[in-house]
Amino acid sequence: AQTVTQSQPEMSVQEAETVTLSCTYDTSESDYYLFWYKQPPSRQMILVIRQEAYKQQNATENRFSVNFQKAAKSFSLKISDSQLGDAAMYFCAYRGESSGDKLTFGTGTRLAVRP
């Protein structure tokens, strides 16, 4: 079974600075999809960014970008110019082509933003 590991339970960043959240996964598949979700205190789960494993180019969405290292099975999220509204739980998630119906989540990283 695939596993997703987020080794940083908590992170902190100064407003306007950059922070990187780490995520690693274990899989034997070559085709899969990776996602980052944000969960603010409102509890809503919000998609931040997604990456297809067959694409070499790292995905970017405004201030959010990923560093996807397929050989290392690493999928980190970089948040640039951090804002107070970025404070949230962040979850990394994996879906493989063979288990295409199921999304497996990591345990999350709680990000605090210091003003």
Binding site: A1, F35, R43, Q44, M45, F91, D101, K102, L103, F105
Partner: protein, 113 residues
């Protein structure tokens, strides 16, 4: 936002009572999911559905059952609630494309006393 509604938003119940959580979507998506969220565990899949009357178990399905009699509704039932089922429950939906993300409801906080 994806049209997905969970009810109730909060519920407190006693050990041993049956509980049903409802998920309703207006997107006509094929796939629907139930996850539970607990501190230190992230989100774990309980059950999911890939069509009307087509369901399958996730990693934490013991003590839960589901039903999907029509595309828009996916029900999660705790036949006899236990304190270990105190959690936040999320419903999610997605389109059939593999790269499509899950869209989540707002969650149900269930407390079993």
């Amino acid at each position: 936002d994806a049209g997905i509604t969970q009810s109730p938003r909060h519920k407190v119940t006693e050990t041993g009572t049956p509980v049903t959580l409802r998920c309703h979507q207006t997107e006509n998506h094929r796939y629907m999911y139930w996850y539970r969220q607990d501190p230190g565990h992230g989100l774990r899949l309980i059950h999911y559905s890939y069509g009307v009357k087509d369901t399958d178990k996730g990693e934490v399905s013991d003590g839960y059952s589901v039903s999907r009699s029509k595309t828009e509704d996916f029900l999660l039932t705790l036949e006899s609630a236990t304190s270990s089922q105190t959690s936040v429950y999320f419903c999610a939906i997605r389109d059939r494309a593999l790269n499509s993300p899950l869209h989540f409801g707002n969650g149900t906080r269930l407390t079993v006393t």
